[in-house]
Symmetry: C2
DNA sequence: CTGTTGGCGTCAAGCCGACAA
DNA sequence: TTGTCGGCTTGACGCCAACAG
């Protein structure tokens, strides 16, 4: 089993695949970018050295999921083990199952006494980002791809993006490809461009790979190219194909008790303990950055009927947001885990296809709906045609639907003047180099999503959503300032109730400017819009702020 | 994963493969005989409802072995958890890993307060026997067997014993065979008798099986035929091919703690807990019948230098005994498991090939060497030529070497009169039906082994063995009665010191006759031999007895 | 642009007896 | 008695373009 210690490649941007000098034999470096590509775009690992909140309850759920068995109610609890432990994330190593290539992360945690909230803001979740490689593609295998009858048909754009360019002077153009998997095993493929019409194919070597990895139609294969031009490939199996946990070692009960006992012992002695996080098998993350947790808990006022959105991964390895309504609040397991924040929200989903989505989520899983929320995206010209295989197709389609955005410094479709704000731009620009483009994409998604919510009359069948739709959308879009002033007199900024969550602002000290990260280009309406904008922006970043009454 | 509840087929002899009525869907019956055939001849599961001793320490060793990792010393112990728990064996289900066909048993244990020793004798280990099927064979695969070049060559006797007879009128004789594996999956093979010289082969269908099970040369395949003539087949993988435990679920530490915490909680609350026993992966059994345990602990006086023998499984699925000497005694882990009897004996082995054999064993693992020990085996005529693939080839060879045995009621090679003893025969005969033949084999092995030990001058390089060989073997075989009388005056029967172990007899009440199980035919020397014989026989059965001075 | 299918050449899977240990 | 090998046959693998959605 190959490992990659996340500590090592933490210096410099986009390292990860650099061949480590052989400091430790037996532990060769596992490609971090490839790992994250296999894990998917939603998997964000907290940085080593940061403080996290560990939920034994969630850990237990992962164990249950991996054994495809419910948590039995008769499992004893540890009276002194709280439902959450604040820990120092001492170490993270990335692994891949030797049999299935399933990715998982080993985390070493050291319980620490909880400190006051201010500490939480000292370690903001700026570094918490998915290290998705830029040059990659992911394709779900078709029946033809996996049959013994032929090879692998590569989408044109994908091949052109990540494979070395073919010499089209040859007839037919072809080359030998070598790619390494997570175990550093090398696979050889013949890459040829032929057929009528022309297409990219992997022929010789492909079937060996398929049978060795036991791939089936529905599984996905992904190729990445690192900064040295080396190809990597990984697999993402279809969910249904979850391996039945070999329970021939420990009984389900012992495993559950073991999780609790290990955490309990570590908490009692302030000693290290080790957990495995299996991102594609665990129902939810159970190691959360302290900052993310506290901001959700302390600064997010939720109530039944509140509308929210939440990110999910699509089949094509992109992300999209689903809308829902909070239908209830309360402990998931009031007897064994009272006063836990773990999945304390009961939710309903707008779309009828929501059968598979969770009925319960945690506070930090959701994005509250706020408005007005106006952040201009990158100019349209900046984006390529249609980024096939990209990770945010929803954003694209939304941006298409809303013929709303136009070029820089112009009036938009609703006649508002958009302009650049150099001051905000400069101090809010992230200091760290590397991947600003991806971050932009992230916030563009937020923008478009919020906008979509505003512009669309809810079509939900959930009666709760009628609360929102009772206000005409035209009125909802632009509340006059006095609505804001009404409630801001006692230091809180109440959004109109129809918009959903109360915007509860904390009384903690303002953030240092350099700790705040926002898109590099922000377009604001004058005055009122700017103030609200700032609040909302910071709000999305889960940052507390004093609001001085306007 | 298919299950077989050992409770169900517990009535009637050699059931096991009867199609259970579909009481519980999803849990189809797993063939018990096939399971035991795969587990090997040494695996004896205590009967459901009996009392057993559970060793958390041994359980922990199995967990460590399955993860190929040593038990870390930093694992905390539970102060209140004793090194052994007396439990009621509430349930046993047989399983087979869906991926590897690895057999394992799930046991449900209920800790019970330890009672006095007498109770132990109330549940003798008579029922503790391996349910090895009689009609079976096991072959280790050769390179030719597993290559893609051809089929599977079946040893002649094996094919004739378990396969349906071929119609030799056909040219060539051939038939279609169907056999089910532990998962009840059916496999089809073409069985043909051809070649020059003629031989039995499996051709069509064989390579499918090999690739599906991922068999390699060195792995073993076994076929059994149940009482309805249905064929079963199982596999036994070579040891080296231990699967790397997918540790992507729980950390090693959590697993170890889980084992201890589950046992600790069950002991504290007298509630059920579940363990998995993986006979081919666990270094030692860690669920021992109470009777076996207590007889070893209470009635076995061991000392450094003592000679013993111990059963091992050979490559060919037969058993053989290796000789060794106790070189030390003491706790394996004095800090965390003080006063544990778990593997408290340090041992050395006579043969130089003993590198793989354990350096530490438990008291109940060994058979002490005693003498004189004269039990006649079955008449030679009873046994077939050479039982290839049988389970006790060593016994056979020993019996061959000692041209010592002859027919019934005759003088043996040393001129002693052997005769039948009806009285002993009748009250010592086991009451339970089923497999008396196998039990006879078992004791025949003991006889032959003891005899061999007596007759052979030790060739051990271990200096300890010189103690024994200092007495001429002729003298050792027949000690005059006065030697016995010398030391029996204070209620103990001392064997001559040169023989090794002291024969410490317990002071517990004599056994009820019907609880004692000995070979059905016993030939005794008159008077003195009869008394010694009785002592030694009972001694081998780990039964305590009052000895009335002769 | 790409999933599926028919055509077809090639090579390894797999059946056979020879031979020898 | 049975493990391995060379000879030989055949059918599945796998490369190709056609075609269609």
């Amino acid at each position: 089993m190959y490992l990659c210690n996340e500590r090592l490649p933490s210096v410099g941007p986009s390292v990860g695949s650099m061949a480590q000098p052989a400091e430790k034999v037996e532990k060769r470096s596992l490609n971090s970018e490839l790992w994250h590509a296999c894990a998917g775009p939603l998997v964000l690992l907290p940085p080593v050295g940061s403080r996290v909140v560990y939920f034994p309850q969630g850990h237990t759920e992962q164990v249950a999921a991996s054994m495809q068995k419910e948590v039995d109610a008769h499992i004893p609890n540890y009276p002194n083990l709280p439902s959450r432990l604040v820990c120092l994330l001492d170490n993270v190593t990335l692994h891949a199952d030797i049999e299935t290539d399933e990715v998982y992360a080993q985390m070493t945690l050291i319980p620490v006494p909880p400190t006051n909230e201010k500490d939480a803001h000292m370690s903001p979740d700026i570094e918490m980002r998915s290290r998705q490689p830029t040059e990659y593609f992911c394709k779900t295998l078709t029946a033809s791809d996996t049959s013994t009858h032929g090879g692998f048909s590569i989408p044109r754009r994908a091949a052109e993006k990540v494979f070395p360019p073919l010499d089209y002077a040859q007839i037919p153009p072809a080359q030998e490809l070598k790619a390494r998997d997570l175990h550093d095993q090398e696979w050889h493929f013949r890459h040829i461009y032929r057929g009528q019409p022309r297409r990219h194919l992997l022929t010789t070597g492909w079937s060996v790979f398929v049978s060795a990895k036991r791939l089936q139609a529905g599984d996905a294969v992904l190729f990445t190219r690192d900064n040295k031009g080396q190809l990597q490939l990984g697999i993402r199996r279809q969910n249904r194909q979850q391996r039945v946990m070999p329970s021939s070692v420990l009984s389900s009960d012992s495993m559950h008790i073991g999780v609790l006992a290990a955490a309990n012992y570590a908490a009692a002695t302030s000693s290290r303990f080790t957990i495995f996080y299996n991102p594609r098998q665990s129902p939810s993350e159970f190691v959360i950055p302290v900052a993310k947790y506290q901001k959700a808990i302390c600064h997010l006022q939720v109530s039944v009927g509140m509308r929210f959105r939440m990110v999910f991964e699509t089949e094509e390895s992109s992300v999209r947001r689903y809308m829902g309504t909070i239908t209830g609040m309360g402990d998931l397991d009031p007897i064994r885990w009272p006063n836990s924040h773990w999945r304390s929200l009961k939710v309903g989903w707008d779309e009828s296809t929501a059968g598979e989505r969770k009925k319960r989520v945690s506070l930090w899983d959701i994005e509250p709906l706020t408005f007005p929320y106006v952040l201009c995206p990158q100019p349209l010209a900046f984006r390529a045609k249609r980024p096939r295989g990209g990770r945010d197709e929803e954003t694209d389609s939304m941006l298409k639907k809303s013929s709303f955005w136009s070029g820089e410094n112009s009036t938009d479709a609703l006649g508002r003047l958009t302009f650049r704000t150099p001051s905000l731009d400069s101090w809010m620009r992230p200091k760290q180099p590397g991947l600003p483009m991806q971050e932009n994409e992230h916030y563009r998604a937020l923008e478009a999503a919020a906008l979509e919510e505003i512009r669309t009359t809810s079509t939900a069948k959930n009666p709760m959503s009628r609360v929102q739709s009772s206000i005409p959308s035209s009125q909802m879009q632009f509340q006059p300032p006095h609505v804001l002033r009404q409630s801001s007199q006692h230091g809180e900024l109440h959004m109109p109730e129809a918009s959903g969550p109360l915007l509860q602002l904390s009384s903690s000290r303002p953030q240092s400017p350099f700790e705040v990260k926002v898109p590099s280009k922000i377009y604001l309406e004058p005055l009122f819009m700017e103030a609200v904008q700032l609040c909302v922006t910071l709000r999305y970043l889960h940052l507390g702020i004093h609001l001085i009454e306007i």
